[in-house]
C-alpha cells in the first residue's frame, strides 16, 4: 500500500516537472488559438475561451509564410540528400577500409564537427559573392554542408562500426564485390542509422539561422527562420498570436518526427553524440 502511494507521488512529481518544462510550448499553442482580445488580457486564461484559427489563416494568406515554408522544405531536403549521400559512402570508407591517412581524416572530421559556424561565415559570404551565388537557395545548401556533413559522417561511422563485419566477409568469400557486399549486406543493416542521420540532418538544416541571416536577404529565397524573424521586426505592433501560429507551423515537421520516429532520434543521440 505504501509502495503504491509512493509510486503515485513519484509519477505526479515527475509529471509536474515535465509540464513545467513543456509549459512554454503549451503557452505557444494556446496563444496561437486565442482571439486578439484574449491574448492581450491582463487576466489571461491558460486555455483559449473561444478558440480560433484566424491567425493561421492570416499567416497563410497575408504574409510570406507559405513561401518561407516552401524554401525551408527545399533547402532542408536538398541538404539532407546531398549530405547523407556523401556521408554514407564516406562512413563506409572510414569504417571498413584501411589506408594511410584514414585516422587523420577521422580526426579532422571531428574537429570540423566542433567548429563554430561564425568562423566560417565571413569567408563563405565572400565566396558566395565571388561565385555569384549570393541570395540563392544553392548558397545555403552549400553552406549547410559545412556543419551537417561532419555531423552525419561522424554519426554514420559510429553506426557502421557497430555492425559486425562477418556477414559482409561471408558475402565477399562467396564472390561478391566490395560494393556489392556494401549494397546488399551493410546498407540494409545500417538503414536505421541512415534514417536517424537523415532526420538529424533535416532538423539541423530546417532550424539553421546564422548562415541564412548572412547569405540571403531576398524575400523569395528566405527560409523560415529568418523569414519569421523579419515578421517580428517589420510589424509596428508585434502580433504575438500570429508569431505563435508561425512558431507552431514551423514546428510541424518536428512534431511529426517526435510523434512517429522518436526512436530514431534517441538512437542517434546514443551513437554519435556520446561516443568518440
Amino acid at each position: 500500500m505504501k509502495g503504491r502511494l509512493a509510486r503515485w507521488g513519484w509519477s505526479l512529481f515527475a509529471w509536474g516537472l515535465i509540464l513545467l518544462v513543456a509549459a512554454p510550448l503549451v503557452w505557444m499553442v494556446a496563444t496561437s488559438l486565442k482571439p486578439e482580445d484574449e491574448v492581450f488580457s491582463l487576466e489571461p486564461a491558460l486555455l483559449p475561451e473561444e478558440p480560433t484559427l484566424e491567425h493561421y489563416a492570416t499567416l497563410l494568406t497575408e504574409t510570406g509564410f507559405a513561401g518561407y515554408f516552401a524554401n525551408s522544405a527545399t533547402i532542408a531536403t536538398a541538404t539532407t540528400v546531398v549530405v547523407v549521400g556523401l556521408a554514407v559512402l564516406g562512413a563506409f570508407s572510414l569504417a571498413r577500409f584501411r589506408y594511410r591517412g584514414r585516422e587523420t581524416i577521422a580526426s579532422a572530421v571531428l574537429l570540423c564537427y566542433m567548429l563554430p559556424s561564425v568562423v566560417l561565415i565571413i569567408p563563405l559570404y565572400l565566396m558566395m559573392v565571388k561565385l555569384g551565388l549570393a541570395n540563392t537557395i544553392a548558397s545555403l545548401v552549400i553552406a549547410y554542408t559545412s556543419f551537417a556533413l561532419p555531423y552525419a559522417l561522424w554519426l554514420l561511422r559510429t553506426f557502421m562500426a557497430a555492425i559486425p563485419a562477418e556477414i559482409e566477409q561471408a558475402a565477399l568469400i562467396d564472390g561478391a564485390s566490395r560494393m556489392g557486399a556494401f549494397f546488399d549486406v551493410l546498407l540494409p543493416q545500417a538503414l536505421p542509422g541512415i534514417i536517424s542521420t537523415a532526420l538529424f540532418t533535416f532538423i539541423l538544416a530546417w532550424n539553421e539561422y546564422l548562415f541564412a541571416l548572412v547569405l540571403v536577404n531576398a524575400d523569395d529565397v528566405r527560409p523560415l527562420t529568418t523569414g519569421v524573424m523579419t515578421m517580428l521586426v517589420s510589424g509596428f505592433n508585434i502580433e504575438w498570436s500570429l508569431l505563435m501560429a508561425a512558431s507552431v507551423m514551423m514546428s510541424v515537421p518536428l512534431i511529426i518526427i517526435l510523434a512517429f520516429l522518436q526512436g530514431y532520434l534517441v538512437k542517434g543521440f546514443g551513437a554519435g553524440a556520446v561516443k568518440g
Binding site: W10, S11, A14, W15, L17, I18, V21, A22, P24, L25, W27, M28, V39, L42, P44, L89, G90, F92, S93, R96, F97, Y99, I105, V109, L110, L111, C112, M114, L115, P116, S117, V118, V119, L120, I122, P123, L124, M127, A143, L149, P150, L153, G175, S177, R178, M179, N207, Y209, T225, M229, W240, M244, S247, S251, L254, Q262, V266, F269, V274, G276
Partner: protein, 296 residues
C-alpha cells in the same frame, strides 16, 4: 583468379575513393574558408566595399589591447557557458532519473522533454520573448499574481536580468541532451548493484552517490565537454534574445565576431576575433580527445 586479384587491387583505392568526395567538399566549405579567415585577420577590410589594406598583427594587438573587446567578451562567454551548463547538468540528471522510473505515458513524457532541444532556436526565442513580454507576458503576470513581484520586470533589457534570462533559456533549450545521454547509460546499470547497496543499508541518496553517480560519471564527463563546446560557440539563442545587449553585457565572442563583420563593417577585425576564439576552443577539443582516449 584474375577476378580475385582485380578485386584486391580494387580494394587498394576503393577506400580512399569513397572518402574523396567528402574530403573535396569539406576542403571547399571548411578548409579553404578557414585559410581565408586566417589571411583576412591580417588585413583591415571594409565590409561593403571589400577594400583591404595589410595590417599585420594590428587587429590582434587591438582586440587584445586595452580598448579591445576580446577579454570582456571572453568573460561573458565563460560566465554564460559555465552557468547554463551547470543548470543543464543538474536539470538533465534529475530528469533522467525521473524518466528512468516507471511513469505514466512515458513515451509522451520523453517527447515533451525532447522538444525544446530539437525545436528551432527561432521558435524557442519567440516563445520566451512572448513569455518575457513586459505587460502581457506570463512570467510577469504569473509572478505578480503570486505576489513575488509588485511591478513588471524588464527581463531582457537590464542587467543582471538579461544575462540570467539568457542562461535560463539556454538551460531549458539544451538540457534534454543531458537527459537522453544519461538516460541511455542509466538503463544499463545492473539492478543487482542497487540491491547490494540496499542490503548495506544505503538510503536513496546513498544509492545515488555510491552507485548511480560513479556509473554515469564517464558519460557525464563527455556530455559536459561536448555541451561546453557547443554552448561556448552558441550564436542564435543569445543574438535573438538580447542581441548582445544591454550595451555589451551579453555579447559573447560569437556575437562579437558577427557584430564586427556586419555591424561595424570591419571584416578583418571580425576574422581576428574568430581566430582568437578558435584558439580558445582548440583547448576544449584537445580536452575532449584526451577524455575519450582515457575512456577507451
Amino acid at each position: 583468379m584474375m577476378a580475385a586479384t582485380a578485386k584486391l587491387r580494387g580494394d587498394g583505392w576503393l577506400g580512399p575513393l569513397l572518402i574523396a568526395p567528402v574530403v573535396v567538399v569539406l576542403g571547399a566549405v571548411i578548409g579553404y574558408p578557414l585559410f581565408t579567415a586566417l589571411a583576412l585577420s591580417l588585413f583591415e577590410v571594409d565590409t561593403p566595399t571589400l577594400r583591404a589594406s595589410f595590417a599585420g598583427i594590428g587587429n590582434y594587438a587591438e582586440l587584445l589591447g586595452p580598448g579591445g573587446r576580446f577579454w570582456p567578451a571572453l568573460g561573458v562567454t565563460l560566465v554564460w557557458t559555465a552557468a547554463t551548463l551547470a543548470l543543464q547538468v543538474v536539470l538533465g540528471v534529475a530528469m533522467a532519473l525521473l524518466l528512468n522510473r516507471d511513469l505514466w505515458l512515458r513515451s509522451l513524457a520523453r517527447s515533451l522533454v525532447l522538444f525544446p532541444y530539437f525545436v528551432s532556436t527561432v521558435v524557442a526565442v519567440l516563445v520566451w520573448r512572448w513569455l518575457f513580454n513586459d505587460l502581457f507576458g506570463l512570467a510577469n503576470q504569473g509572478l505578480m499574481a503570486l505576489g513575488v513581484i509588485e511591478a513588471p520586470i524588464d527581463w531582457l533589457g537590464t542587467m543582471p536580468n538579461a544575462l540570467l534570462s539568457v542562461i535560463v533559456v539556454g538551460a531549458w533549450k539544451f538540457f534534454p541532451f543531458v537527459v537522453i545521454a544519461v538516460l541511455a547509460r542509466l538503463q544499463t546499470i545492473p539492478e543487482s548493484l542497487y540491491d547490494a547497496a540496499r542490503l548495506d543499508g544505503a538510503g536513496a541518496w546513498g544509492r545515488f552517490r555510491d552507485v548511480t553517480l560513479p556509473q554515469i560519471g564517464e558519460v557525464l564527463g563527455i556530455v559536459v565537454l561536448l555541451r561546453a563546446i557547443w554552448d561556448f560557440k552558441e550564436f542564435d539563442l543569445i543574438y535573438l534574445l538580447t542581441g548582445g545587449g544591454p550595451v555589451d553585457a551579453t555579447r559573447t565572442l560569437p556575437l562579437t565576431v558577427y557584430q564586427e563583420a556586419f555591424g561595424l563593417n570591419r571584416m578583418g577585425m571580425a576574422a581576428a576575433y574568430a581566430v582568437a576564439m578558435m584558439i580558445v576552443m582548440l583547448g576544449f577539443f584537445v580536452a575532449y580527445r584526451l577524455a575519450v582516449r582515457g575512456r577507451s
